[in-house]
Amino acid sequence: MATIDSKIPAGPIAEKWTNYKAHQKLVNPKNKRKLDVIVVGTGLAGASAAASLGEMGFKVKNFCIQDSPRRAHSIAAQGGINAAKNYQNDGDSVYRLFYDTVKGGDYRAREANVYRLAEVSASIIDQCVAQGVPFAREYGGMLANRSFGGAQVSRTFYAKGQTGQQLLLGAYSALMCQVNAGTVELYTRYEMLDVVIIDGRARGIIARNLVTGNIERFAAHAVVIGTGGYGNAYFLSTNAMGCNCSAAMACYRKGAYFANPSYVQIHPTCIPVHGDKQSKLTLMSESLRNDGRIWVPKKLEDAKKLQAGEIQGKDIPEEDRDYYLERRYPAFGNLVPRDVASRAAKERCDKGFGVNNTGLAVFLDFSQAIKDFGRKEIEARYGNLFDMYEEITDESPYETPMMIYPAVHYTMGGIWVDYELQTSVKGLFAIGECNFSDHGANRLGASALMQGLADGYFVLPYTIQNYLSDQITVPRISTDEKVNPEFKVAEDAVKARIQKLFAIKGKRSVDSIHKELGRIMWDYVGMGRTAEGLKEGLAKLKKLREEFYTNLFVPGTAEGVNVELEKAIRLEDFILMGELVANDALTRNESCGGHFREEYQTEEGEAKRDDENYFYVGCWEYQGSDDVAPVLSKEPLVYEAIKVQTRNYKN
């Protein structure tokens, strides 16, 4: 077990970041040009980091798997971005945002990181507005806000239901500005498959050109990954089809710790699963919970009739509806945090109150809001979301209540990083969803965008200099195997791995095995976990890996475009990831945030934390082979500013 140093600066929480910046080492402008940085990923974190680093003068190489940086999945975030601006004069402050985030994360986040996040949140809004991001405005020309789950203030800035899109396009435009200036080199349709470590420092990556199929080497003084989360380990999730954890797994295999993998966020408002051909789940923004009311029938017989399709939601009279969130959590009502809302929906459906043919759905009803504000206003607020819902389900939310059900959405766990966002491998940094740092066991709505941009614009560009300052004497790293044989070793390993996949020559497609993985993950490592179930899940994952290595079929060759090969590599990593999640969930004998162990709940069915024994970050270390169980190290959490207590959204 390793000792883990999170490098949190000394001093009171509100001064840590200021102190850090005041005392950190910097790189002078002339030296910056001599330093190369690889940034993998072009989402909010990756694009903003690449743009900022490029603008500062570093030579940046930026990679993405899609055809353009603008396709990164940050683009799909709908609802908004939090910032402690207090424009609404409702009592918001940096401290309150910090407090809400730590509380929302069920007291499993690192205090200092969260405080910094809250601190820079206001600058993000300034930065984005300066870039021309068209946030929603009030008639007087001021920025508009709305409220989101887990908060009692309106601090969420938004651009219709497409906030992620607009923020990403802002970061993308900043990035393209730097591409034009020649400071950032863009590599689209490239997938990172390994990180190259020389003398204990990350010095480059091996990436596959997804068009030619070539395996290529890239060197730099530091490597930053901003490659998102691992939600697709569940196959069905709100993630994009291409979202994967391969870059993170490559780092993990090379010695970077993986922290808190069991913290998986199940988002309460997704369109329910409709059949086994389904490829992904569609999120309906959390902002809908501002005006929509969530309910199931009070009477079991009504639920039965709904499931049989005999009646519709609107046929059930008001007095027979159970607005269970408002009933259980009067203070926050429909705006409780996501983990709470998801579990409450599961609880109702498990008891038989589900409202669609599978019994796995609850209503999200706008009839009251339409009555109160008029259809036109509701259309203005949620029009595009309603249209999307109708397109998918063929039902109009203006006429009948929406049906929603929880789905895997975001992963709070990720590559372990210290206060500087550096992983346990020197020179390797992780930013955005792909690190673990800010959300604890549960992320509040509209905080992912905040974290991605905070890391990319305002944190990493500072902290990476503290590392790079002593690298100025290191000449440009060569990828030549005579100088750095590590590149060839890594490249050969990647090639061998690909050949191994082709050589299996089994019968099953990648997707069919991936679907099976997803079912195991959802059934055993999903919303409600038990020790027994997790053990069974782990056994099934082991079998699945065997199946993968004996029965997989990858058509085509390693040359040129081969989508099945890309998916096969990712699936191999998802299986490893799945085991990590299950292992972490099994050792964490408590319920907190996105991790709910059925053995550990209060009499009212709320999550029961165990702060005495589990007040730590679970850091997992790879043991040289996918077949060997990883080893857990613990980074104890130290809270100075906040008193740890049971989360209460009731009053």
Partner: protein
Amino acid sequence: MAKNISFTIKYWKQNGPKDAGHFEQREMHNIPDDTSFLEMLDILNEELINEGKEPFTFDHDCREGICGMCSLYINGTPHGKTATGATTCQLYMRKFNDGDVITVEPWRSAAFPVIKDCMVDRSAFDKIQAAGGYVTVRTGQPQDANAILIPKQDADEAMDCATCIGCGACVAACKNGSAMLYVSSKVSQFALLPQGRPEAAKRAKAMVAKMDELGFGNCTNTRACEAVCPKNETIANIARLNREFLKAKLAD
């Protein structure tokens, strides 16, 4: 309740930009009509793989109509025909009938060379963006966000322009292979906002010049682009770009 439909699918196979390409055809049976078009193609690919064949390659990612990655020309319309304007991934099989012949082609335009099958190279869009599609602002400490007052109407209109997802349907539909709707949407977003004004003239000229250089065609105002735009961008943007461009040129 979902019903099942059976139909014929003709899909384009092309091995790289030099290959002539051809259609392949397959009967699809009992596809639930609540599957999305791309899920139907997943089924097609699953069948092909099970037969040991190479699957059909196409671009797709978020599958919720926002990333702009999916790009199929379905039965003569980019993204297929939907009432409200949607991307390929938001097209559902209930829009088709039993016995239909569904033809799937790539975006066909000189500026979008085919990489494989229906996967095309749209990096030209990135290059246009790099030429001027931004407000030059340093990361750091800009003025307070509320120090720039923007009338709601302007902010909303800029938002409508900024909604473009860069999918390239406009180019695919245009008989001239023109990228004017794409370019004008970006130029419009910034032209409507005070933050974008200082560089407005430079931006309009640079982006148009880059667009021409990359081999996109000229706009002859046929309106095919706005008819197929999944995000309902309008040619009012093109008029605005023309305005900005002329203003910039006349000021030279």
